[in-house]
Symmetry: none
Subunit: 196 residues, 4 copies
């Protein structure tokens, strides 16, 4: 019985490795842009073992996305923790709309990396992903100023907007217009909240 699975912990570690690789790869190349083979190879395994860990590619995507929101992209949320009290949101905005985030979509916000892909997916995937969007919001929600009722309404729009800006800035790349877009947007969103 226990011969077959000598170390459940090891399996868990392997699983986690796959998840991390997948989260990165999906963001970098899109859901259909990576194959199970690539992900497994990058995880130091071969494709045959994949189905031992996950039911299918869709399940991997769901888990990897969940994982990326829960424990990944820490650098992004660290900007909140290391911010001076009262300026958490501004710091988050600055981090979100930073050139670093633009240039590293593979470790960044899922919305800005996979938004349109998910948008045209079937309902099941969209519903899964919706939960993640909510989870992301929960992380920044406490810092949105103003009455709670207002905050709740606005926070979603801000995140979506910033995801859009980031997405476009990636299209434009590190050009004059791309840089301008980013800096202007930083000011725009910061001001929006200063007023509120």
């Amino acid at each position: 019985m226990s011969r077959k699975t000598p170390h459940p912990a090891k399996r868990e570690r392997t699983r986690q490795r796959i998840l991390d690789v997948a989260a990165t790869a999906f963001r970098k190349h899109g859901i259909d842009g990576v194959g199970v083979r690539d992900i497994m190879k990058q995880s130091g395994l071969t494709q045959g073992g994949f189905y031992f860990h996950f039911r299918d590619k869709e399940a991997l995507f769901a888990e990897a996305s969940r994982n990326a929101v829960a424990s990944g992209s820490e650098w992004l949320y660290d900007s909140i923790k290391s911010a001076p009290p009262g300026r958490e949101l501004q710091c988050f905005i600055d981090a979100y709309l930073s050139p670093a985030h633009r240039d590293h979509l593979e470790s960044g916000c899922l919305l800005s990396a996979l938004g349109t892909d998910v948008a045209r997916s079937d309902e099941a995937r969209r519903r899964e992903f919706s939960k993640l969007a909510a989870a992301i919001l929960d992380r920044i929600s406490p810092y949105v100023p103003g009455p709670d009722s207002d905050a709740r309404r606005r926070r979603a729009g801000v995140l979506a907007s910033m995801a859009g800006v980031l997405m476009v800035s990636r299209v434009l790349g590190d050009t004059e217009r791309g840089r301008t877009l980013l800096t202007e947007a930083r000011h725009f969103f910061s001001e929006s909240f200063q007023n509120a």
Copy 2:
């Protein structure tokens, strides 16, 4: 030299048909989500004749996108023309962030339909697409209020933001949260410009 175009009309008509079908299909299923075969079949042709009209799939995408910006999505820009003077931008915003636009990505804004796909594409495709983004901006640019220098800086951010909101609203679908996102965003952006 005089150009010999024996059948300009027929070829052009066929080409246009393919282009229209492609623009729709790309937005609906993503660039890698449609095959040349499907597009041709929907155009009433077979895949064999494709390479007579376009060098390859990439060329088709480039042209179809160009075409979609230049002459497609008219319903979106009509919102500007039919708006009362001085309220063009508000009307555009309302149209852009309408449930109709959310539900019909196949005839809507390219940015909101293919943004993240293009964002991770190679530089060539991104540069092509950048030009289109600029072209889209040119269409709404005249209506952004405030000093020209400001307008120029802001218009890009607004469009990108709205694309992000629309993208997310498509993920959320026609749910309570999805609808709220859209209505809140409409107010948010309208107010932004009223103030300016």
Copy 3:
């Protein structure tokens, strides 16, 4: 049931299915008259999986032909088995030159269905096909009367002749002249062997 080797059996079954469909299709429409696509579709598969089973179309033709000679066209050779002793050859002749064989080239003798196609093919294909012709001869050889040395010489000529008659009778179709050709030929060949 092949419980022991479920997997190899599956491949073999698929392969056999393709082979059967191909043998039929090649005879019916000619080697260049059928596409890999059609054959696969008729086999309940798609064209993509073809190259897993066969190197290319030429290989399929070679195998399908071999298969058709070895195990196909049983109805033709059954005429020998069910014949009264001593009259095997006559029965075979009657079956070969029957209206049924004329009307069903897709399950009949390869020589009469693809002879001229192969005749103008490159040497490789002709040599392959020659072996099949020899295999066909081996099946009727024991029943050709007279001294062995004579039999060996004649059997080939008879088969070739009958293939020619059948081929022409297919051109003529079920017309008066076509029917006469067949009946006359039956008598002609039967008598030839009665004398010998």
Copy 4:
């Protein structure tokens, strides 16, 4: 050089040239094995002018076949003319089943070159071709011995048989078995008529 005089004779000559090339090419490569382009190029013309002379490829095939029977393959029928009286049929048989005929299907009997191709064609083509078979028979008919009623019945079978033998001998090529087939068949058919 000839001025652009619409000389009907020239057109006729061109037409004849195409016809001859086509008859050769069809026999050599099969009906679907040659393209209009090849035929025209070999005729010293380009593909565009083809439809000035013939309605379509099918019409060309019909005419070229007709032409080949009427005026082509003269070397075959010359064997009759140059034969000693009373031995016309034997000489024809020897010519028909000669290695030369085996090696030059492009100028030989249509039946032996295109038989199976036509056999699977649609009824229209088969009916056209049937007339040609009759025309061929008319050329050797006078020399078939015995009462007319018998002759009429037998001549068709002999020609068809010989076509089959020749076809198979082309598959076998210039090998031992191929040569034997031919010589044996020559004797077989000669004897058949000696008896009659």
